[in-house]
């Protein structure tokens, strides 16, 4: 085959099938040497799968790959590494209990006889660190360093192995806006040194900011490849979704009633004993959505767990409808009609080995009519399930199949249906549309608005700033366990919120 003169990588006709889904369908991806190439698409579009094939973690069912003009068959990551392809995964592949240096050299350790030559290892790490301006502490354990530094360790890891093509999978998902800027400077620095970069993202602003060319994937197929300067964000969004995209949710004015939920000076510790929620106070009224915006890892998880009885509260108090609910257990909270859509549906929200019927009553199974004393009433349970499936458009063939068989979006709808049907007067929704397809997102958003209009007080916690901004009537920004500022919907300025999310609103701790 004739090789294009300056394509470093050519993936042609890549197809990959998993049980139940065609993840990649005849995809073409062409990347020029020395460019920063963005691979964009919705969740589930097939981007990560494609890159895993490139990196040798998966085998493609069909298609060919050419690297530096040579046809190759990727069999395992070792081969990819040898060819000069390195990947920085979305979920870092770092070993917490080992040091930065150990993580970097793992598998390619410099030796002195049978032992590892740690001195040489440190030297090489420092060399790369200085060359590309990647500040790290070679002797620190991964569990003790920041997320930003962890990412730099991942980058050094692949540079250490001589990577010329660097693939980044959703690199900005866990970074603050400031760290994102730093990352893009690193990208530029790498490009100057002659490296080629592919980065996967679904964040269009970043794509516009840093990439040279963009390839869009949708539903497993490659839709188009364009030069970045020739398109707008809106163009790309439409390519990603396939139709006109509404960036704002249609909602009417809120009509808030009395205040029903008050959180006062809440303090919560995380699993390591650190006070991750450090004095949070807010209140929510009937019929309003209060949103909390912030980068993940600033205490949101612990906050939600504390409010729903899944984590002990170290200090402060929580009141609901006049009652002090601070000490209550998860069951007692559920019995008071407080609904909870958990941020991790597979871990918290569902028992995937249970049928849909059994999942629809999770948390309410001890109540009538689903059971009386300890005897379950399956007729009532099944009826309940069938009714919810219909009303909430959960796509499934039967209420008796296992929950593991539903798609992410339908699983989320199941959870929402379950919580909504209990007529909650207070609803706590954490990351309600994470990993959910666009159609389901719209449905879920409209359901939330509907509940609000019916008078439910809603706490919305989300890492998607656009979601928080479009749904909330009032919103607060969380940073390092505190709510740094609260806004009414019409006052909210995206730029200011972005700054607050990174701590510019208060004393910033000196960094890494």
């Amino acid at each position: 085959m004739a090789e294009e003169n300056n394509y470093l990588l050519e993936m042609r006709g890549i197809t990959k099938i998993f049980p139940g889904v065609k993840a990649n369908d005849n995809i073409d991806l062409l990347v020029k040497k020395g460019e920063i190439h963005a691979l964009v698409g919705e969740n589930g579009a097939g981007k990560t799968t494609l890159m895993k094939i490139l990196y040798g973690l998966y085998d493609s069912d069909q298609g060919e790959i050419y690297f530096a003009g040579n046809k190759i068959r990727m069999t395992d990551p070792q081969q990819a590494i040898n060819l000069g392809i390195g990947m920085v995964h979305q979920h870092f592949k770092l070993i917490d209990t080992l040091t930065v240096t150990e993580n970097i050299i793992l598998g390619s350790e410099p030796r002195q006889g049978v032992a590892i030559n740690y001195r040489e290892a440190r030297r090489q790490v420092e060399e790369i660190s200085n060359k590309y301006n990647l500040k790290v502490d070679p002797d620190a354990k991964i569990q003790d360093i920041s997320v930003g530094m962890q990412q730099r360790v991942e980058i050094i890891k692949i540079l250490y192995r001589g990577a010329d093509l660097l693939i980044f999978d959703e690199p900005t998902a866990v970074l603050t806006p400031q760290e994102i800027d730093e990352l893009f400077e690193i990208f530029n620095s790498l490009q100057e040194q002659g490296k080629t970069i592919i980065f996967i993202t679904h964040k269009l602003r970043e794509v516009k900011a840093i990439s040279d060319r963009i390839t869009v994937l949708r539903d497993g197929k490659s839709v188009d490849s364009v030069n970045t300067e020739e398109v707008t964000e809106k163009d790309v969004a439409e390519l990603m979704v396939g139709r006109e995209v509404l960036f704002r949710v249609d909602k009417g004015e809120a009509k808030p009633g009395e205040s029903v939920f008050q959180v006062e000076n809440l303090q919560v510790k995380d699993n390591r004993g650190i006070m991750t929620v450090n004095g949070i106070s807010f209140e929510i009224s009937k019929g309003e959505i209060f949103g909390i915006a912030g980068v993940e890892g600033n205490g949101q998880t612990e906050l939600v767990e504390a409010l729903t009885g899944l984590r002990q509260i170290a200090g402060g108090r929580v009141y609901y409808k006049g009652e002090d609910i601070t000490e209550l257990s998860a069951r007692e909270i559920k019995d008071r009609h407080i609904g909870h859509i958990p941020e991790d549906r597979l871990r918290r929200g569902l028992v995937t080995q249970f049928s849909l019927s059994e999942n629809f009553i999770l948390g309410f199974h001890h109540q009538e009519p689903y059971s009386k004393n300890i005897f379950m009433n399956y007729k009532a349970i099944d009826q309940h399930a069938q009714s919810l499936i219909q009303d909430f458009d959960v796509r499934t063939s039967s209420h008796q199949i296992l929950a593991s068989k539903l798609s992410g979006g339908n699983q989320q709808k199941l959870i929402i249906a379950r919580e909504f049907r209990q007529d909650p007067e207070l609803l706590i929704a954490a990351q309600p549309t994470r990993g959910v397809d666009v159609g389901s997102i719209e449905f879920i958003h409209s359901q939330l608005i509907k509940k609000r209009d019916e008078g439910t007080a809603i706490l919305l916690v989300s890492a998607e700033l656009s979601e928080v901004m479009s749904l909330s009537d009032r919103l607060g920004v969380i940073y390092e366990g505190e709510i740094v500022k609260t806004f009414a919907a019409d006052e909210a300025d995206e730029r200011e919120i972005g700054r607050l999310m990174t701590g510019s609103g208060k004393e910033v701790k000196t960094g890494e």
Binding site: I17, G20, A330, R331, D335, T352, F354, G363
Partner: protein, 377 residues
């Protein structure tokens, strides 16, 4: 011991599941028996003689079949003792120790107290056994729930402690004469044996009762209790909220916690019931089989119970069937010993069954994945 299901939980899907499970179980047994041939040959005996003896000794006659059920009884209970906590995500390897303390308690109550009317005495002894077994399950349960202590090792340790307590110390303290056992229990504490059924007031006049009046028949009432326990467990697991919660915790403890279910309570409850059931096995052996608590009466029943639970796919009814199978192996093993073949072969076959069932699990998993892949294309 992952349990695999097809996608549907309705009646049709469940039937397919059962058939698949049954198929794999039978397949494992057959392979184990085949490999067992090698060991028989190594012992210089004929596999034909061996398996013939096995057959004759276990189900070759009505009496032997009933004796097979007798052998199966404690295995069914110890199988339950593994399976129930397993449903909640725990490995209870402590069936042996729970059986011993239960048997000791029953044997002790059985011999120590005199002058108590028959039915009451038996009942008290059984209650003592259940309590002792429950306690022996409670300890690792609490340690796991509150301290995160790995139940595999704590239960195994408690097995050894039970041996020291009951056999080495307990028997030593109370025995009479040279026999390594507690004194024989009072007649009033003896558990009803099937060959005494003909002498009972009402039941004795039923037409078919004479069929049980066989000399050498050792089947006793605990078998009935085992069957009742199976029904109880089945109902508990699938028809009650307790069972729902237990299964939820076993599948996904985080989601169960979200659903307001207390993992701790569930863990402890499952271990207590399991211990009680194993204790009941011990009671049966003490009150029905030996009429005393004696050294060696546990005979690896706890560990065999693990194989029974595994083969029975952790389902109460499956365990009854698997228990009967292993009882047959055990009963037939006696006959094998009579014709000069080491009965240890039975133990070896049991271990082989475990290997093959565990190994075939993964085969099933691969096949299921292949089928799903086919569905997708």
């Amino acid at each position: 011991m992952s349990e695999l299901q097809t996608t549907k939980t309705d009646a049709g899907g469940r039937l397919i599941n059962i058939l698949i499970e049954l198929g794999f179980a039978l397949f494992s047994i057959v392979i184990a028996l085949l490999v067992g041939i090698a060991f028989i040959l190594l012992a210089g005996e004929s596999p034909l003689d061996a398996y013939h003896a096995l057959y004759i000794g276990s189900i070759g006659s009505w009496r032997e079949f009933l004796n097979t059920l007798w052998r199966a009884t404690p295995l069914i209970f110890t199988g339950f003792a593994l399976a129930l906590p397993f449903k909640a995500g725990l490995f209870n390897i402590g069936g042996e120790g729970q059986l011993l303390v239960g048997g000791f308690a029953a044997g002790f109550v059985g011999f120590y107290f005199t002058g108590i009317p028959g039915g009451l005495h038996v009942a008290l002894a059984i209650i003592a056994a259940i309590a002792a077994g429950a306690l022996w399950g409670l300890i690792p349960g609490i340690l796991k729930a509150y301290k995160g202590a790995h139940e595999v090792i704590t239960t195994i340790m408690l097995n050894y402690i039970a041996i020291q307590l009951t056999i080495r110390y307990g028997i030593e303290r109370y025995r009479i004469g040279g026999r390594q056992a507690l004194p024989t229990i009072q007649d009033s504490a003896k558990l009803l044996r099937f060959n005494d059924l003909a002498e009972l007031p009402v039941v004795g006049s039923l037409p078919f009762i004479e069929a049980f009046a066989l000399p050498g028949l050792r089947l006793h009432f605990n078998f009935i209790l085992a069957l009742l326990a199976a029904l109880f467990l089945w109902y508990l697991l699938w028809k009650t909220t307790t069972g729902y919660e237990l299964r939820a915790v076993g599948f996904n403890a985080s989601a169960a916690e979200y659903g307001g279910i207390s993992s701790k309570k569930t863990i402890i409850l499952s271990m207590v019931i399991a211990g009680a059931l194993a204790g009941l096995a011990g009671a049966g052996e003490a009150l029905g089989t030996h009429h005393t608590f004696m050294s060696g009466m546990d005979a690896g029943l706890g560990f065999t119970g693990i194989a029974v639970a595994l083969l029975g796919r952790n389902h109460p009814f499956g365990i009854v069937a698997a228990g009967i199978l292993f009882g047959a192996l055990s009963q037939g093993g006696l006959e094998m010993q009579f014709v000069g073949i080491p009965s240890e072969i039975v133990t070896i076959i049991q271990a082989l069954v475990i290997f093959f069932v565990a190994g075939l699990q993964m085969l099933k998993w691969f096949l299921l994945k292949q089928r799903e892949k086919g569905e997708a294309e």
